[in-house]
Amino acid sequence: MKEEVLFSNRLPPEFVAWLQRWFNLHLVIWLLSLACFIAAWNRGLALLYGLSALALSLLLISHLMPRLQLRGIRVERSPLGDLTAGSDGGLAYRITSQGRRYHLQLVDQLPFADAQQTLFVSRCDGAIETHAMFHCELRGRFLLQQITLRSAYPFGVVNHSRQISTDPLEVLVLPQVYDLQEIPLPITADANSDGDLPIPQLGGQDQFAAVREYVQGDSLRYIHWRASARRQELVVKEYERSDRPVLLVALDCRALFNHGEGARTTFEYAISIAASMIHYVSRQGMQSILVTDNGAWHDRVIPAYSADLYDVYAFLATLESNGSQSSAELIEQAVVKFPQANLITGFRLKDDGVLPALAPYLTHVDIEMDAESFLFPMRSDQTSGQLRQGNRLIYPVNALTSLQELFQ
């Protein structure tokens, strides 16, 4: 390969760097060719001229062939399923060429993946499909419209690369969603100690709300036999409890709230926490409400038992830190607009003392983020536990906090 050096790397680094830059296989072949040509000229021998021609041919082909290989190639991408930050995902590539092509390298700079993706296609007879698997790092909406093609066909001596435009592909990487085991629930009026929180239950004396599919663990008491017989599958009765928690998440989209780099920022953590909480409460049959201000007020009500949260995740995926209202401001407006919400989740920085004014019957889950830890993660320790101040539950979060265990 062109970058291969022909000297030991147990040499002074500067010298090695110089060698790596200038003394490669390509140069060695040039030097051999020149030496051979000089020897041929000096001795006037046809065999040496022949060897010199062979070396020159090697160089000529190494320079020309990769350029020819990269002509007339089209690449189309398509995602392999949903892409989620923090998870593995894949993209399918369809390569079409005018004629046969050999030894193609596709280098795709995916802004949301952990590293550039390099694919190798040994031979393409007009069209070929391949795929790349990678780890998604960043959520967001990304437009992919360029890709780098490389070829050093056939001898690997000269690597030629070319950036080509592809059909634009908008890739949506959903935010990372943690499989939370529990979340704080509204503090009951008669609760007299920290942690004395009501447990949501099926059934009870509440008003019948709907039926849903039976899941393992549901009591047989609540099976709706008639409906089950009608639908030919087990369904259970669901009841609307008057004190059933309604989660309200107020996401701070201000640039002021965004500290850190890449996927490890206060803003990204907040989005993941919000998505994870919504996922949890939805699974538990609770309603949730998301309010944000990313340039404009935005709210979204997610009904209980929503099986498809894609739209919410997609919305969260596209959020940018360009809002103007803090969580506290959002909460104050949201509780007016959504009086049923009783579990109010907000985010603030550790040094931000502004809190929303909430009625005492509302439970305030206050996610307190340590901005400095996002800037200097190595200086932080993992946080754990919660603090309770009246109806306010404070959950400190820093860059090393395990979000999956945030509420445990």
């Binding site: 390969m1 021609a53 041919s57 030894h103 802004p111």
Partner: protein, 747 residues
């Protein structure tokens, strides 16, 4: 990157085997090559597999590698003294390759090994004089193309690459095809001959000659040794031929090689049949490396009695060589009108005691302590030349009116104009008729030469069929066909009838250049006779009366295609001259070989025709393309920038949204053209923030505000297009180099 691919190991072993086989073929022949390849292949494979199993940091074979390298150095020094630099270098390369194998953990060492193998192939090519070496080239081209290909793709595909044999051969075919085209069209320049002294297998010594040489030096003989002998000969000349001394050929007979050409006896019988009675065996007698075709003189004959030619120059002047080198005429005495040519001769079959050399030898590197020079300047060895003898010489050649001359000085010797007593008067009449229209000796000589070339045929069989009678009249007036001695004798005598001094020269025609090796192959049939005539006080004009031969050319063909063409023509002419031969495997091989040559020649010929007819155009187009290629990186971005601006200005827009989109697209294109590729998903705020670093006037807040409203809000606001056009104009006004510079600084 760690070398862990068995495919690469296998093909690298093949390359090593081919390189080893090629080198051994050059020195030891086919059997050596076969054995070497068979041994090298598994040895390389075994060592590489062994090394692949161990960790580089704890390589137990490192010491073995160092010991092998040390052995190479130990062998190198005595090899230089015993066999010369090239064999010593090859042995060293062999050891170095073996030592390197024990350290070949990764691809860079593999590439280094390939480079070492290529160097060995170069060294073998220097030694080899056989076209068969070309097969090793082909094998090497195939194996190295596959090895390099696998070395490229195996790491990319985690050593699970799929490369079909047909595709492998396709790559190899490209390599070979392009190499052939380059080989055909690359011009051949005259050889530099820097430090080129061939190594000889034999060394010649004679105590007696050395004693004589000391005596000559003691007598103060510092003038031209040949000239003094010739002067002595002229002074003692007896016009009746009484100074003729007995034939010394019998007493100094060389070996009875079947390739020994009888014409090189001291007395040459022009109608000498094949005394052994065998069919003529046209084997290679010697190779010559030279820049142009040469006629190598062995003997010069001055007297003709109607049947035989005799040489008066029997006495030798003995000369001592200094470290195998002798200068027969100091460079300071050479005339500016002369041209010096250096060449090397490699003897392949035992010859006589003459040293074939082109006229006029002035410096010789010969493996002997002493050598002899006769009155006509011809060189003699202390013993008969053995196969494997190699020597180099420099000769002076004079050019005049497109013809070559030998010596330019003249010592008048009556024998140069002597005629047989019973010369057929028709010969005098014929010569007169041909030469009379011309008024100078040069023109007369050329006319007589051309007369013979154009009116008489070459007859190969005449070498064997002529009997012990003078065939001159029969040749000129009856059969009108014969071999070179007939032609040469006829011309020499015809010249003398016109008063032009002449002499008959025998030697070798080194005009048959093997296009594969570059050497001039001298076959037995290239033993030849020609004529030198002293004309117009210019010098001894070389004349070639036999149409079958081309004569010593002034220049050689510079293109390989031409050389191949000439070679094929000569081969076909030889086939034609030798007539039908028996059906044999050799004949089939020769026919296939020639068919291949003809195909290459055909392709080469058309390529040459194309280049000859179009070279001014091709040169012009090439120069333009070269300039364009060099200037393109400078010009292209400016051109693209201009196009972006032109496109923007000429775009027909119907709405503000569209105009803003066009401007943003143009800004994006301009930035990309200058090397800034906007990351996908970058917000307008961040983009503008980065553009601030370019130090251009920019209303970032307004632009981002308007952009966000346009794209993300239903609430329409009034957009000022001037913000965008100002941004574009600012970027464009910077100019491409400045913009690129600032973007580089920004990144």
């Amino acid at each position: 990157m760690k070398l862990a691919s068995l495919k690469v190991v296998y093909w690298y072993s093949m390359v090593s085997a081919v390189a080893a086989g090629a080198v051994l073929f050059a020195y030891l022949g086919f059997l050596g090559a076969l054995l070497g390849s068979i041994l090298m292949m598994p040895l390389t494979h075994f060592i590489l597999v062994l090394v692949a199993r161990v960790d580089e940091e704890n390589n137990p074979y490192l010491k073995t590698s160092e010991q092998i390298a040390a052995m190479g150095i130990v062998f190198f020094l005595p090899m230089i003294i015993l066999y010369g630099i090239l064999p010593a270098l090859l042995v060293f390369i062999g050891f170095a390759h073996l030592a390197l194998l024990f350290q070949t953990h990764d691809y860079r060492r593999l590439y280094m090994g390939l480079a070492v193998g290529f160097t060995a192939l170069i060294a073998g090519a220097v030694e080899s004089k056989s076209g068969v070496y070309l097969f090793f080239f082909l094998a090497y081209a195939v194996t190295i193309s596959i090895t390099l290909g696998y070395a490229y793709i195996e790491p990319l595909s985690n050593n699970r690459s799929k490369w079909s044999p047909l595709d492998q051969l396709r790559a190899a075919a490209w390599l070979i095809g392009v190499a052939i085209v380059i080989y055909l069209i690359v011009p051949r320049f005259p050889a530099g001959n820097l430090g080129a002294i061939p190594g000889s297998d034999h060394f010649y010594e004679s105590q007696e000659w050395e004693q004589e040489a000391k005596q000559d030096q003691g007598n103060g003989a510092d003038e031209d040794p040949a000239k003094s002998l010739l002067q002595e000969l002229a002074d003692n000349f007896d016009s009746e031929g009484s100074n003729r001394t007995p034939d010394r050929s019998a007493e100094r007979s060389s070996s009875e090689s079947p390739f020994r050409y009888r014409g090189f006896d001291y007395e040459m019988d022009i109608d000498n049949p094949d005394r052994d009675g065998d069919r003529f065996s046209n084997a290679i007698v010697a190779h010559v490396r030279a820049d142009r075709p040469l006629y190598l003189r062995a003997r010069i004959f001055d007297r003709f009695d109607g049947l035989r030619w005799y040489s008066s120059a029997l006495q030798l002047n003995k000369l001592k060589l200094s470290r195998g080198e002798i200068e027969l005429q100091p460079a300071t005495l050479r005339s500016a009108k002369h041209k010096t040519e250096r060449y090397e001769v490699f003897i392949e079959r035992d010859l006589g005691d003459y040293i074939p050399a082109a006229a006029v030898p002035v410096k010789v590197n010969f493996p002997a302590t002493v050598m002899g020079v006769d009155a006509f300047g011809q060189l003699h060895s202390p013993g008969t030349l053995k196969s494997g003898t190699a020597y180099a010489a420099e000769s002076l050649r004079t050019y005049h009116k497109g013809r070559t001359f030998a010596e330019t000085d003249y010592v008048e010797l009556p024998n140069f104009t002597q005629l047989p007593k019973d010369l057929d008067p028709r010969i005098i009449e014929l010569s007169k008729g041909v030469a009379e229209p011309y008024d100078n000796q040069f023109a007369k000589a050329i006319a007589l030469e051309q007369f013979l070339r154009n009116n008489y045929d070459y007859d190969f069989d005449s070498i064997f069929t002529s009997q012990q009678h003078t065939p001159l009249s029969r040749f000129l007036f009856e059969t009108k066909k014969g071999h070179c001695e007939y032609f040469a004798s006829a011309l020499a005598i015809m010249l003398r009838t016109q008063g032009i001094p002449s002499r008959l020269v025998t030697g070798f025609s080194a005009t048959n250049q093997n296009p594969l090796t570059g050497y001039y192959d001298i076959y037995a049939l290239d033993g030849h006779a020609w004529v030198e005539a002293y004309v117009d006080e210019i010098g001894w004009l070389e004349l070639e009366p036999t149409a079958y031969y081309d004569g010593p050319a002034v220049d050689n063909e510079t293109l390989s295609a031409d050389q191949i063409n000439d070679y094929v023509e000569r081969q076909l002419r030889l086939q034609d001259a030798m007539g039908d031969s028996e059906f044999s495997l050799e004949m089939i091989m020769t026919a296939l070989w020639q068919a291949g040559y003809i195909i290459i020649t055909w392709v080469g010929g058309y390529l040459k025709l194309f280049f000859i007819n179009t070279w001014p155009w091709l040169t012009g187009i090439g120069a333009i393309l070269l300039c364009a290629w060099m200037l393109w990186p400078q010009v292209a971005p400016r051109w693209y920038a201009y196009q972006i601006r032109r496109r923007l200005l000429s775009a027909k827009v119907v709405s503000t949204d569209e105009a803003v989109a066009n401007h943003l697209q143009a800004i994006d294109d301009l930035l990309r053209n200058a090397g800034y590729h906007r990351p996908a998903g970058l917000t307008i705020e961040k983009l503008l923030d980065r553009l601030m670093a370019l130090e251009i006037p920019l209303r970032a807040d307004d632009i981002s505000h308007e952009f966000n409203h346009l794209n993300y809000s239903d609430h329409k606001i009034e957009v000022d297009l001037a913000h965008y056009s100002q941004l574009f104009d600012s970027l464009y006004a910077l100019g491409h180099p400045m913009l690129r510079q600032r973007i580089n600084d920004m990144q």
